[in-house]
């Protein structure tokens, strides 16, 4: 059995430092790895990234993250990634990492993902350059996520995104904004490999549980959804 802890959308800044720490101190008793599903900061500044590093660094278990839309807001992505990486937090974007756990090798493929919507109600790569660029952004990231998942050499695969791969876990959000919350292309990427679990955030008003069309379990771990410091999943 592999024990996976996960949370997203912690939106750290100075005012949040220390809030997660009492729970995180107990995390190594409960999990072999912690996944952070994006929106780690409020605006994506280097100083907010330092708050993330202070809170989620040095936990005693590997920490693997993807960024979210908030982490892109101030155009300081390289600085944010560097601060997190220096704190021992692996940041994935279209790539993967393997964590050795007592229950076997856990492969994690991650990407922020992007919007576009879901089957029958989605944007198409057509028309204005802005529209084509929007959809293209999602298809490129989804292709990278799929390739990263398929290429993993491990016992158990997990997909980590910020945007949602299925509409199930968006229930509670206004349907009008689903195209800004995720894309079926991410689900298709996840289904292209034998993935055990897909974890995402972003949809603060969404629902915890869903499945991809291929049967992969999806969990929305946005902090306001799970209402605890992190959730723990026992795989296998």
């Amino acid at each position: 059995m592999i024990r996976v802890a996960a949370v997203g959308d912690v939106h750290m800044d100075q005012d949040v430092v220390g809030r997660f720490r009492p729970a995180l101190d107990r995390l190594p008793e409960q999990a072999d790895v912690l996944l952070l599903a994006g929106d780690l900061t409020r605006h994506g500044t280097e100083s907010e990234a330092r708050c993330v590093a202070a809170e989620f660094g040095g936990l005693g278990v590997p920490v693997v993250a993807v960024l979210g839309n908030h982490d892109h807001h101030c155009d300081q992505v390289p600085q944010v990634v560097k601060v997190l990486t220096d704190a021992g937090i692996a940041v994935l974007e279209g790539d993967s990492t393997v964590v050795d756990t007592p229950g076997g090798a856990l492969g994690i493929a991650g990407a922020k993902g992007f919007g576009g919507g879901f089957a029958g109600r989605c944007a198409s790569e057509f028309g204005e350059p802005e529209m084509k660029a929007f959809v293209r952004t999602t298809s490129v990231t989804a292709e990278q996520l799929g390739a990263a998942l398929r290429e993993l050499d491990c016992d158990t695969r997990v997909a980590l995104t910020h945007y949602a791969p299925v509409p199930d876990t968006l229930a509670g959000e206004p349907p009008e904004i689903y195209p800004f919350l995720g894309s079926y292309l991410l689900g298709q990427a996840i289904d292209s490999a034998p993935t055990a679990l897909a974890v995402h955030g972003h949809a603060h008003a969404g629902t915890e549980r869903g499945t991809t069309p291929g049967g992969v379990r999806v969990r929305n771990v946005a902090h306001p959804v799970i209402k605890q410091a992190y959730s723990v999943f026992h795989l296998g």
């Binding site: 024990r3 959308d9 912690v10 939106h11 750290m12 005012d15 949040v16 809030r19 997660f20 009492p22 729970a23 107990r26 995390l27 409960q30 409020r42 605006h43 908030h70 807001h73 055990a196 679990l197 603060h204 008003a205 379990r217 969990r219 902090h223 306001p224 209402k227 605890q228 410091a229 992190y230 959730s231 723990v232 999943f233 026992h234 795989l235 296998g236």
Partner: protein, 81 residues
């Protein structure tokens, strides 16, 4: 009467104001009051939402029902065989 444009402007202020950056707050337009509900990560953020929305829309009566998301360690794991 609070109109739709006010609702839209408040929703965008919540996200786009540098001191807020909140996308998870629901804005509900009632006949005489604008209700803001949802969850944030700290008390300060809740207070700041109230302060800045009131400052930008002094004539709009607000009802604020925003909680701070709990951050306890989980008591149970989910088994996914």
């Amino acid at each position: 009467m609070i109109d739709e444009y006010t609702e839209a402007a408040v929703q965008r202020l919540l996200t786009e104001h540098g001191g807020l950056a909140e996308q998870g707050i629901k804005v509900v337009r009632r006949e005489r009051v604008l209700v803001l509900c949802g969850e944030v990560e700290s008390r300060q953020r809740r207070d700041e939402i109230l302060r800045l929305v009131h400052e930008s829309f002094p004539d709009v009566p607000l009802s604020v029902d925003i909680g701070v998301t709990r951050a306890n360690a989980p008591t149970e794991a989910e088994e996914l065989p």
